[in-house]
């Protein structure tokens, strides 16, 4: 079955989640990937949305972190102060799953402003939301984001969340912080992608791991589960 680069990214992100983990999920790509994981290899993945839904099991993709389908299918629905103070802050959540508008070589994330200065920005983005504390308090963080020069910048315009994450999964490959350093290194390339393409889409001199490997293409089971879910 042929697949798009977005589908490869979503499948690779889903594979990064282990069964039984508790995962703090942002809307968009992270939510799609986490729900795919729950429908394939990780049926006991616990999805936590910042709206207060713990253990949500939606049967269709939610548009928002507050869609009714999340509350209807959750183990518990708690208040927002409780999510952040009782569940996130003490380190009860294994994985934080985030997106980014900008990301630098150390995996710092910006979702606040682009260009100009803070008081007079070129582009005002939605802002931090839960991301600063998700990045700081989850045991590990995975970022899912499309790979391109607008996003992969040498220096973020604003640090909304501090890196580095354990992994950055893109539509071209996978990056991870090397041992003893906070700099992101290319560790995997998705099928059909070259190192030159990944470098050309990165706004700094991207280091490549000596152990660079290819990502396994999506299986038919993964692709059908993803497509069925996206159409539901």
């Amino acid at each position: 079955m042929s697949h798009t680069s977005d589908e490869m990214m979503t499948v690779a992100a889903a594979r990064a989640l282990r069964d039984g983990a508790a995962c703090f999920v942002g809307i968009g790509l992270p939510s799609t990937a986490a729900n795919l994981a729950r429908r394939t290899h990780a049926p006991n993945l616990v999805l936590i949305y910042e709206s207060g839904c713990l253990g949500a099991k939606p049967d269709r993709l939610p548009l928002s972190i507050g869609d009714g389908v999340l509350a209807d299918t959750a183990d518990a629905v708690v208040s927002v102060p409780e999510v952040f103070n009782y569940w996130l802050q003490p380190g009860r959540i294994d994985v934080g799953f985030l997106g980014a508008a900008q990301l630098d070589r150390h995996g710092n994330i910006n979702t606040t402003v682009i260009g100009g200065d803070y008081a007079d920005p070129k582009v005002r983005l939605p802002g931090a939301g839960g991301a600063p504390e998700i990045a700081a308090s989850c045991r590990e963080v995975i970022v899912v984001v499309r790979h391109g020069l607008r996003t992969f910048v040498d220096r973020v315009d604003f640090i909304t969340s501090v890196g580095p994450p354990r992994k950055v999964i893109t539509d071209l490959g996978v990056l991870a912080a090397g041992p003893g350093t906070s700099e992101l290194v290319l560790t995997h390339l998705h099928p059909g992608v070259t190192v030159e393409q990944a470098r050309a889409a990165t706004g700094w001199d991207l280091a490549v791991s000596p152990g660079l490997t290819g990502t396994e293409p999506p299986t038919e089971a993964e692709l059908s589960a993803l497509r069925a879910f996206e159409q539901a």
């Binding site: 809307i27 548009l63 009714g68 802050q89 606040t112 802002g127 600063p132 504390e133 700081a136």
Partner: protein, 266 residues
């Protein structure tokens, strides 16, 4: 005992020019109808407070009701950016908008401190981010017991908090359930409160997971069926996802926005 009022009376009595106003609701139970009434009554110079300013705040900002926004995430959930908010920050249209920006954890704890009658809250937050450089209301304190450095945020005590809920009885005791966000804290932190509800009933049937706000803790209750649309009230209405998607187009252009708002302001 809360007073039972009409929406127009409630807004006229409780929301004044220059007030700090929180319309809370975390995707669910957002008091859209009350926001529209504030626009109709032409309130100005408001400091709007809300963790997730979305469509109704885009409308209030675009209609020039706000002088300042205190928030942690200002977007159209699942869709993208808020164009009226963006226009106000980037171009000062229709009036310049001052912002005070936090994280969700920071905002939630500001309400918790406000509801608790404490001057500030501590949390393990903001570390290493650029937010404290731009937001004076983020400080750091040292734990007197462990020496750990922690973030501190001042209590948030709005002049008035407005929320939407499923139902209330005639004494103004309010029942809400589903995703209840930070609504209870925002009401208890405020000097005055207005709760719009889907229905007012003689007797409240208990519901699993409900949050109750006793009538004596609420200033006024107004019956406004469908008052959360395009947000929703679990058990009564469903979220109008198509409207959130349509808002992106409506709000992108100042003229299209203003003509759409004529339907609200009439």
């Amino acid at each position: 005992m809360a007073e039972i009022v009409s929406l127009a009376e409630g807004v006229a009595d409780l929301v004044r020019d220059g007030d700090t106003v929180a319309l809370e609701g975390f995707t669910h139970l957002i008091p859209h109808a009350a926001g529209h009434e504030i626009i109709r009554q032409g309130r100005r110079d408001l400091t709007l407070v809300r963790m997730t300013p979305d469509v109704v705040y885009d409308q209030l900002i675009g209609m020039g009701c706000a002088r300042k926004l205190i928030f942690s995430w200002g977007g159209n959930p699942g869709v993208g950016s808020l164009h009226r908010f963006r226009d106000a920050v980037q171009h000062g249209w229709p009036v310049p908008l001052e912002i005070e920006e936090h994280s969700h954890a920071g905002m939630a704890n500001r309400y918790v401190a406000g509801a608790s009658g404490l001057p500030f809250a501590v949390l393990r937050g903001y570390a290493g981010t650029d937010l404290p450089r731009h937001t004076p209301n983020i400080g750091f304190v040292t734990c007197p017991f462990t020496g750990e450095e922690l973030a501190a945020v001042p209590a948030l005590n709005p002049d008035v908090t407005i929320v939407h809920a499923q139902r209330a009885d005639r004494s103004g005791t309010v029942q809400m359930w589903g995703i209840t966000g930070v609504q209870k804290e925002a009401v208890l932190a405020a000097k005055r409160s207005l709760v719009t509800v889907e229905e007012i009933v003689d007797r409240l049937e208990p519901v699993p997971g409900q949050v109750v706000l006793p009538g004596w803790a609420v200033t006024a209750v107004a019956e406004v069926p469908g008052g959360a649309h395009p947000s929703y009230a679990h058990g009564y209405t469903v979220r109008d996802n198509a409207f959130y998607q349509a808002w992106d187009e409506i709000s992108r252009d100042r003229g299209t926005f203003l003509s759409w708002m004529q339907g609200v302001a009439a």
